[in-house]
Amino acid sequence: MSNGNGSVRIGFYVCHCGTNIAGVVDVKALAEWAATVPSVVVSRDYKYMCSDPGQELIQQDIRDHHLNRIVVASCSPHLHERTFQTATAKGGLSPYYFQMVNIREHDSWVHKDKKAATEKAKDLVRAALRRVVFHEPLEKKQVPVRSDVLVVGGGIAGIHAALTLANAGKHVYLVEREATIGGHMAKFDKTFPTLDCAACILTPKMTAVRSHPNITMWTLSEVAEVGGYVGNYHVKVRRKPRYVLEDACIGCLECIEACVYKQAKVSDEFNLGLGKRKPIYIPFPQAVPQVVLIDPETCIEFKSGKCKKTCVEICADRNAIDFKQQEEIKEIEVGTIIMSTGFQTVDAARIPYYGYGAYPNVYTSLEVERLINASGPTGGEVILRDGKKPKAVGIVHCVGSRDENTNRWCSRVCCMYSLKLAHLIKEHTDAEVFNFYIDIRTPGKGFEEFYCKLLSEGVHFIRGRVAEVTDWALDPSEEGKLVIRVEDTLIGRVRRIPVDMVVLSVGLEPHADADEVRRQFNITCSTEGWFLERHPKLAPVNTFTDGIFLAGCCQGPKDIPDTVAQAGAAAAEALVLIDAGHVELEPNTAYVLEDECSGCKSCLSLCPYTAIAYHEEKKKAEINEVLCKGCGVCVAACPSGSIQQHMFQDEQIFAEIEGVLAHA
């Protein structure tokens, strides 16, 4: 038997955990029994082993009795393995000479029979006492952390995270898929609950990103490939052609004016199809970068090559237009990554009984944000598709939220933005506004006050889930109107409310490609498709992949205040790693016994962390210690038994099994 350093001297400790353990397991008897096991030099029971005196006890015993192994029987290793490893290390031993036994969750909490529970505790302790003999003094590896950060998605979350990091002196790559940063917030006119102008608070931050010396901003770009690990990610970014040189264009917009298309004819994406743009355009006046782009699908030069190219003419010496621009791949090295890809709104056409797509005067909330916006397609006037001003407007809450047929979750922001839209529509049109709600949810700071304000403004609130939006009329007052049919649950009646305009308060959902993106970055999603945080309370911006953090709505629906707070937190977490300069890796990794490996490659595809590579010359498998998370899959799968794992060596595991089975 190899046990490292001569004779094994074990110190054993059993914790009472108040009455949590001692109430069921006879801790005194357990300690007395353990004292009789060979190699156990010290055996004690103590009220709270995790307390300072408890830990001190271990350290003192190591010194006094020359202990070289420590076993503590207490709670789950999740809680206090670190604590006792640290105590062991402070006593002068390698922390890996420690083994923990869980006799609380696995024993005292789940059993009533004291005698049997004490016997079970003995079995578990015996296993640990036999195992610990084979422990080895392992060392933690350190890997350096690069200080550059990648931020994916340039909504308010990505913008705030990028600026925070850049202001702390770190270099940030901000990658945004669209032609401008800003995300959803750039589409709004005002923001709840304060009704401050969205552009007034967002535009300065957008331009700050553009001009910050520490930020490299790439719009019309997407991450193509991610490799590496915490501290050392290699990322390839695909920059799609804009057909306009970003450095040369000064944003004078004269080319748009000069375009051979005299009228804007193309459906305008930024305005959700409510307005028109030309083939050469800028998404909106305050777009960042202030650089035009060309849409090759509709530009005549791309279609026929026979355009007069009046845009090039007017651009003259600046020569910013380049029809030959190609896609570009940029390769970068970063230490940490922040995901801030946001959300998409539910496609209202999925709920056919609300008439979106069938009736022109049924709008989504996001479309109405554009109608109300002073720089929107109607210059901020609420005018219907038929050119009329609505006299009565119905706002339908929870469209695609809290609904078994679409999404089950509450989208959190819709009640508040519906109230905001009710206020703004009233302000713009003086129409009668009806809100149809299931519950009003206004739990943020200043939110309930905002709701009360709306109540006193004369907006109608009808409690009930809308059954349908339709155009069938029962009496003349309904002719030519949209009729909202709803059960008013406060008066217990089915009502029909004729209106001119319907606003569907669509919910928030993960992007259609969220699953692809999460695979690319090797992070996890909740069942709904939101990126999953490591712990819902205690690690809300971490992912299960070290060095990748979450900010904003890609993690779940939230409003701007929460998004910004989370973005700040994600930036701070990245800074922790960067400023530490390195990360420590647990030594519980797998390794290949080269002489025995036959090079069959069966382990390669099994590794969930892509930590195993095939060495072509040696014809052997190689495990990257930094990527290995110690899951043990390859160890179990290797047909020749030539993969071993630190802390889970065969002899350790067999000794542990024999210990349990040696039940007297």
């Binding site: 056919p352 009984y353 069938a358 349908e468 339709t470 155009d471 069938w472 009329a473 029962l474």
Partner: protein, 308 residues
């Protein structure tokens, strides 16, 4: 498709008429069988079938309803691996519901299996229960209907009314909220259908028998909108919808001060007519309302004599 027709081989179906096809919905049964014959599809009536267990049973003793349905499903399985075609939407829903509930709820499965065993009936197996709309749209197809039509529609505009039971909750024959397949099939034989938002609204069901004024009002709402949309008749696919809309038009006259005389047809009657079926074998002589229009639209000179 695994079981689509190949070459000259004609697809064959099992047919579950249920009680309605022999009573108020007789014209539906007649037109389904005629249409299937004209399309060259074989239909064999399920032998020894019994009550499907709908309405009264279902609301009084759920277990009995499931067991009744289960017996039919067991017979269908024994009769061979053929799809079971069920025109009556109450029967259709009941059979589908039995299959789903037995699958989902162990307690129901136990009771149903126990009852079948006690009666010495083999267990129910995987049978595909299908509405004729589904068979006509998916197995036959719009193109074949168009190709086989020998008469071009010269009647008025129609509102397609799908009702609730065939599509909810089991939206297999078409979409649940904005179904279009009946519209598409009828358009293939030259019918103009109107945009009809009430196509899946309630016809009152059995309310016309229990709380009569409420039931009649629901039918009034539908017919009023049919007129408002400029349709002259209604195409249905459920015998209860057809009956409710057809039978109480004269009563509405008093309640709503409006005179309705709207033909309420089965979509299978119209398709059957287009494919050359004759007036009586499609049950066209059985309607109550709108007899004049039915006479004008569907009869050839010879048949007019017989009908008038």
């Amino acid at each position: 498709m695994a079981n689509s027709t190949s070459g000259q081989e004609k697809k064959s179906y099992l047919y579950f008429p249920g009680c309605t096809m022999q009573a108020t919905g007789i014209a539906y049964g007649e037109s389904v069988r005629t249409l299937f014959r004209l399309l060259g599809l074989q239909v064999e009536e399920l032998e020894d079938w019994n009550c499907c267990g709908a309405t009264s049973y279902m609301s009084i003793d759920e277990r009995a309803a499931f067991v009744l349905s289960a017996r039919n499903l067991s017979l269908a399985r024994q009769a061979g691996p053929r799809d079971l075609v069920v025109p009556c939407t109450a029967c259709f829903l009941m059979l589908r519901k039995t299959q789903e509930y037995v699958r989902q709820y162990p307690s129901i499965r136990q009771e149903v299996e126990g009852a079948l065993k006690q009666a010495g009936i083999p267990p129910m197996g995987p049978v595909r229960v299908r509405h004729p709309l589904d068979v006509l749209y998916s197995d036959v197809g719009v193109e074949q209907i168009r190709a086989k039509a020998t008469r071009r529609w010269h009647g008025g505009r129609l509102a397609c009314y799908y009702g609730c039971q065939a599509l909810r909750p089991y939206a297999e024959a078409d979409q649940a909220y904005n179904p279009m397949r009946m519209d598409e099939l009828l358009q293939a034989v030259g019918v103009t259908t109107v945009d009809f938002p009430l196509k899946t609204k309630c016809c009152g069901g059995s309310l016309t028998g229990t709380i009569h004024p409420v039931g009649v009002r629901l039918n009034y709402i539908i017919l009023k909108e049919v007129a408002r949309r400029g349709a002259q008749a209604v195409a249905t696919m459920c015998s209860l919808c057809q009956f409710n809309l057809d039978a109480y038009q004269s009563e509405m006259r008093e309640e709503a001060h409006e005179v309705f005389d709207v033909p309420i047809l089965y979509f299978t009657q119209i398709l059957g007519w287009a494919l050359g079926g004759d007036f009586r074998s499609l049950g066209l002589h059985r309607g109550i309302a709108g007899r004049n229009l039915i006479g004008q639209w569907f009869t050839t000179p010879k048949e007019v004599e017989a009908y008038v």
